[in-house]
């Protein structure tokens, strides 16, 4: 047997740490030069497990599946006069509304009662406006003629409210402008992602303490002994070693770090001064060990019609279905019905199109180890408009109000999704807005991340968030916030499913003495060595539990994950327990269901 001299043969155990031993040679008997082919010889010589594993490792076809458990709290009661919306609310002030609307009363004796169509009704949009699969396909005057808002098509039941895709992070945006606040203070930052993480000096040199303490509005990711490269300098020095983390508060070590105060003067470290910093692992090799900060960008790789969304069996979340019977005389259209405030159903999302990752690289140029279920608010029924984007640190309230980041005048919060509209006969010329479907190749922003070449590790600093808020033309929330920056709901569009794993150790070596250095390895000009993490094969899980093992069938990989999809209110405009009736009229508790109602 002749071996190509350019080919190096390495032991299978050297492929990665803990790699299993595998025979590399075929044992050929020397007893004779020919061998008679005997029956079953083929099945004896070929290992089914080996063939399965070979096919599995080579397969780039994925059919990801997830089960969505939706957690949603209907938090904003508002009012509307638009008849299709008005007649389908979960009423929160029905008695007062009925008194105004039926100004001459509403009894059995006088039918039909006189009405004042200019009276708005108060309530929550029902859960069907947020549900993954709409089931209100038979509501006359809303989803069915006459005088309906939308003529419901059952085939679109899963795409009226949300659309689902598979995406992957394909590059980094270092120039994204970000903004954050320190809750409870007037401190606010606006910075470019590549600048690092924002901080302010919690305890400065003016306090004459032994340490200068910094606080970040997001997790800093530092360890004691590492360094920070500040955006400001003290006598030309920007690197400072972290001496401790946190204060006395639990969990504060993730947000607070300190450096030793060796007698700094001036106002660089003045209390409440602020700036940005980057993490540096080794001050002696800051070029290789300094972190990069960026916003991941995702590319959509499935069409909207590929998503298959079905009920997840009989699973329901623990919070239950919150519904009530709307009493006939307390509705504007004199129809008794059940109205649902919050639902509890879970859904399974799969795709009827193969996801082929062949040739795809992630945002660090590495093989894909994660795909993302990207769920986008569609809002076809037109309750909302002008969806915004931000990050988790933007979800904190700024003195009880939404951060200025979310204002519709802030172009940095615009989503890369086109908004469309339609009108209805009963709505006149006022538009109902909805988000267009995305196609393969569409790109979206993603999480705010940190990457360190020395660590070969990407850390998600803050998750990407979308904010949806009501269109004030059709549904008015009762509070004093400006219409350009109202309360809304947040959701996380990208939810990962792991399809492969990098090793939890780092390989380092030169091309001279290491074979098989992957093309994604980082080359350090300082040390003249490559650094990388091995890619574990499918089905291998190391002693630390790192690795993936999921079904492989008929040439396709079937990764699965459970996803909790939260639609989180930014705040509330009603007392959460309804007991304390505040400025917003809510009197749910005063409406008693009759002993016998037509909802039963």
């Amino acid at each position: 047997m002749i071996v190509d001299p350019t080919t190096s043969i390495i032991l299978s155990t050297q492929r990665y740490k803990s790699a299993p031993r595998v025979d590399q040679f075929i044992n050929v008997p020397f007893a004779q030069s020919t061998k008679t082919l005997t029956e079953y010889d083929r099945s004896v010589d070929i290992s089914l497990a080996t063939v399965f594993d070979e096919e599995r490792q080579l397969s780039t076809i994925f059919r990801p599946v997830t089960k969505f458990a939706i957690l949603f709290e209907n938090a904003y009661t508002g009012s509307t006069k638009y008849v299709p919306f008005r007649d389908n609310l979960y009423y929160t002030n029905a008695i007062i509304n009925a008194q105004d609307y039926y100004y001459q009363g509403n009894t059995m004796a006088v039918q039909p009662p006189a009405t004042d169509q200019n009276i708005p009704w108060d309530g929550f949009p029902q859960y069907s406006e947020f549900d993954f699969i709409r089931t209100d396909n038979d509501v006359i005057g809303y989803t069915q003629p006459p005088n309906n808002h939308v003529t419901f098509k059952n085939v679109s039941a899963t795409t009226y409210n949300w659309s689902h895709y598979i995406s992957y992070p394909y590059k980094n945006n270092f120039n994204k402008t970000l903004s954050a606040i320190e809750p409870g203070t007037n401190i606010q930052w606006s910075w470019v992602a590549s600048s690092g993480l924002p901080y302010y000096v919690l305890v400065g040199n003016d306090k004459n303490t032994r340490q200068i303490t910094f606080k970040c509005p997001m997790t800093h990711g530092l360890s004691v002994g590492e360094y920070v490269q500040l955006s400001v300098n003290y006598n030309g020095n920007q690197l400072f070693q972290v001496s401790s983390l946190g204060t006395t508060g639990s969990g504060s070590e993730e947000y607070i770090f300190s450096i030793s105060n060796i007698g700094y003067t001036g106002n660089v470290f003045q209390t409440n001064s602020k700036g940005t910093f980057k993490r540096v692992i080794n001050a002696g090799n800051s070029g290789d060990t300094i972190s990069e900060y960026y916003v991941r960008q995702h590319k959509i790789i499935t069409k909207p019609e590929c998503a298959v969304l079905v009920n997840a069996g009989f699973e329901r979340n623990i919070y239950g279905n919150k519904q009530k019977c709307e009493i006939k005389v307390l509705t504007p259209n004199q129809k008794v019905r059940n109205s649902i405030k919050e639902g509890d159903r879970s859904y399974t999302l799969s795709f009827n199109c193969d996801v082929d990752i062949n040739g795809l690289k992630d945002n660090q140029g590495r093989p894909l180890t994660e795909l993302f279920f990207t769920t986008i608010w569609r809002g076809y029924f037109g309750w909302t408009s002008v969806m915004r984007e931000g990050w988790y640190f933007n979800t904190y309230l700024q003195k009880g109000k939404p951060q200025t980041w979310w204002d519709t005048t802030n172009a940095n919060a615009n989503v890369n999704i086109s908004e469309n509209f339609y009108t209805t006969p009963s709505g006149g010329n006022v538009k109902f807005y909805y988000n267009d479907l995305l196609n393969t190749g569409s790109t979206l922003n993603g999480d705010f991340c940190e990457w360190n070449n020395f660590d070969q590790f990407e850390r998600v600093i803050s998750t990407y968030q979308h904010k949806i808020k009501y269109n004030e033309n059709w549904f008015t929330i009762k509070n004093k916030l400006p219409t350009t920056n109202q309360y809304g709901y947040f959701y996380q569009p990208h939810n990962p499913v792991q399809i492969a794993s990098f090793s939890d150790y780092i390989e380092e070596g030169s091309s001279a003495n290491v074979v098989g250095i992957p093309d994604y390895a980082y080359y350090s000009t300082t040390t003249a060595l490559f650094r990388w993490r091995d890619l574990y094969p499918y089905g291998f899980i190391d002693p630390n539990g790192v690795g993936v093992d999921y079904p492989f069938l008929n040439g396709a990989q079937y990764p699965f994950t459970n996803t909790i999809f939260r639609i989180t209110p930014e705040n509330y405009n009603i007392p959460s327990d309804y007991a304390n009736i505040g400025s917003v009229p809510v009197n749910i508790t005063t409406i008693t269901d009759p002993l016998v109602d037509e909802c039963e």
């Binding site: 029905a94 008695i95 008194q99 039926y102 509403n106 008693t592 002993l595």
Partner: protein, 229 residues
């Protein structure tokens, strides 16, 4: 039959004790007079008979409870100057059909008050055609001619109302006259409207312990579930 006995047996009627009377004007809740009140008896009258009565009052909330029990109406908005009446009738389709008959007060001279007199002058015979059948929880005191509604009685209570339907808890009000007279001598239809169904379905007063009647159990289970009764 005495209305005091009836009322004291009814659900939501507080016992007539000192603690339950508004102290500022407690005397206004007790009527002391005679069979000539509010006019003075004629000189040398020898048929003066003392009459004492009690004024009860009820809030709208209690009225709402009574309408829930019969005929099954949930009231969401009581009429006032600013709010209209909004109510939902749900009814009791399975309530039992029972016989009913009506009562009226025979007129006694010189005056008659809603408190009645010592003559036990409640009258029933063929008023409204004698016995008639009606579902027990379908009795409706809001319908004219059905139950309690007359020009001076209303809302399921034998109480005093003026001709406008407003409560009239005054000494002069008690003799506004209704129900009066022999119903058979009234103009057609009038007598029937003066006659009432007494009792059903709001009170049982035949020997059961106070608060432990079937009506009390019904209230507790279905009508005022959150309240102590």
């Amino acid at each position: 039959m005495g209305s005091d006995v009836v009322h004291n047996s009814e659900w939501k009627v507080l016992p007539f004790i000192t603690e339950n009377l508004p102290q500022s004007n407690a005397n206004q809740y007790i009527f002391f007079g005679d069979n000539y009140s509010p006019f003075p008896p004629p000189p040398n009258a020898d048929d003066i008979k003392p009459v004492m009565g009690l004024f009860f009052q009820t809030p709208d909330q209690n009225l709402r409870y009574r309408k829930i029990e019969s005929p099954g109406i949930e009231t969401y908005s009581f009429p006032s100057l600013t709010t209209p009446l909004i109510e939902q009738k749900f009814g009791y389709p399975k309530t039992q059909l029972v016989p009913n008959y009506k009562w009226s007060l025979k007129q006694s001279l010189p005056q008659v008050s809603i408190f009645g007199s010592e003559n036990n002058n409640w009258y029933t015979n063929t008023i409204g055609g004698g016995f008639y059948s009606k579902k027990y929880q379908d009795l409706d005191f809001t319908t004219l001619g059905e139950k309690y509604i007359t020009s001076t009685t209303n809302l399921g209570y034998i109480v005093n109302y003026d001709i406008n339907g407003n409560p009239d808890p005054s000494i002069t009000g008690v003799v506004q006259g209704q129900p009066i007279g022999n119903p058979s001598s009234q103009a057609a239809g009038t007598g029937e409207q003066q006659a009432i169904v007494a009792g059903a379905p709001y009170h049982f007063y035949f020997g059961l312990n106070n608060g432990k009647t079937a009506v009390d159990r019904f209230y507790k289970l279905y009508v005022a579930t959150a309240e102590e009764i």
